[in-house]
Amino acid sequence: MDTRIWAKMTTQPLLSVRNLSKFYGGRIGCADVNFDLFPGEVLGIVGESGSGKSTLLSCLAGHLAPDRGEVIFATTEGPRDTVQMGEAARRRLARTDWAYVHQNPRDGLRMGVSAGGNVGERLMAVGARHYGQIRDKAVDWLGRVEIAADRVDDRPSAFSGGMQQRLQIARNLVTGPRLVFMDEPTGGLDVSVQARLLDLLRGLVREMGLSAIIVTHDLAVVRLLADRLMVMKGGYVVEQGLTDQVLDDPQHEYTQLLVSSVLQV
């Protein structure tokens, strides 16, 4: 509980990004991105459409190959550059240590498979072969994302948007990943549903000691979820720091514009 214990626990970054760049022909996707993410930290990435935040997330998660730079992840065998890693090793990480929550739950769920099967897939992918245990764990996780146990055999197509998103989160977190990538996780949801999801995510991040990288254009979401914030424009990171500091005392011209452009309720 002592501050120094926390500081000691977090001296090794979970993810170190160095000079990461991705170009689409002559156009910049993202360029010269550098940051460290420490265990238990939630990093928000904000910027307008086309600012490069989604490109950056895809490069970090291994969905896109960057043109330059390193993405060093603290694997159980020590730090490894995931850009240089073979596809097999990267996929193994993606289904054990990483999770990816898509904006549209349809992209992250198997719509033709029951809720229990969706949650169980990652378990089976890492070798779980006991139906009863897989099912118990699926039911447990449905409960943790506030989906009733009697929905375990229903398909996601019978769920509301908010439930689908919570199911996607359960499906991703069931194997106890250490790093979660989220692309506009509250994007298509009603405001009231967003609040519930945000609370759920905060609780899970805290309980599981998760690190997360959240891409969004919603400054209210990052204020409530993210410890740290990166602001992107034109593919470059123009400012980064403590979330409330960046939002309340923005230094860069663009950040000032972004913050002052938010409609007040």
Binding site: M1, A195, D248, Q256, L257
Partner: protein, 227 residues
């Protein structure tokens, strides 16, 4: 516990012709454990600005802000996060929470973040809410719909749920009735007694007189306002 040395701050407004507004220069102060320091000065003199800089919410231009052994003016974000988690408490005038989260969980959250068990954290939260006269029927509701006074007390409960060694209090008694004001003053006195270093802004002069060991007029740090 808190030592500020030669601190300065200015705002650059890029969208208004890059106007540079200096708001603080040459600020110095120190607060020891068990001491309460009151910030005074006219409106706009920079009391809240100074407090936000100590909290790490505003960036310092130069100088240092030592809280324990961390220099907030130069610390990395994660060091400030760790500081806020266990060392530095802050009761602001505004309650900023996730909508629809029950009040008791809002208050318990700082303890959960520190790894305290859910039952123990909620127990501590409920005891504080009861002490602050928040009716029990409200505990399971989100504080976003509460009155100003109730929100203020929820904020105070959040700030006192963990025994932070250092506390920042921004108008903690502002919108409270006499009974609750007394409860809050008692809480602050108890925090002093256990050794917390406290920096506060109190417009309530009686409260200021009762709590503060020393006063610092921030006007002396304000460029263009110094006498």
């Amino acid at each position: 516990m808190i030592t500020i040395t030669n601190l300065s701050k200015s705002f650059t407004l890029h969208n208004q012709g890059a106007a540079v507004i200096p708001v603080m220069a040459g600020a110095n102060l120190a607060v020891s454990a068990g001491e309460c320091l009151g910030l005074v000065g006219a409106s706009g003199s920079g009391k809240s600005t100074l407090m936000r800089m100590i909290w790490g919410n505003y960036l310092a231009a130069s100088g240092s802000i030592m809280v324990g052994d961390v220099d907030v003016a130069k610390a990395a974000p994660r060091e400030i996060i760790a500081l806020r988690r266990g060392t530095l408490g802050y009761v602001s005038q505004f309650l900023r929470v996730v909508p629809r989260v029950p009040t008791v969980d809002v208050v318990a959250e700082p303890l959960l973040t520190l790894g305290v068990g859910a039952d123990a954290a909620r127990g501590r939260a409920m005891a504080l809410l009861a002490q602050l006269n928040i009716p029990e029927r409200l505990w399971s509701l989100s504080p976003t719909t509460f009155s100003g006074g109730e929100q203020q007390r929820v904020n105070i409960a959040r700030g006192f749920v963990h025994p932070y060694p250092a506390l920042l209090l921004d108008e903690p008694t502002a919108s409270l009735d006499a009974v609750n004001r007394e409860v809050v003053l008692t809480l602050i006195e108890a925090a002093k007694a256990r050794g917390a270093a406290i920096i506060g802004i109190f417009h309530d002069e009686q409260a200021r007189a009762r709590l503060c060991d020393r006063l610092v007029d921030v006007t002396q740090f304000t460029p263009g306002m110094a006498q």
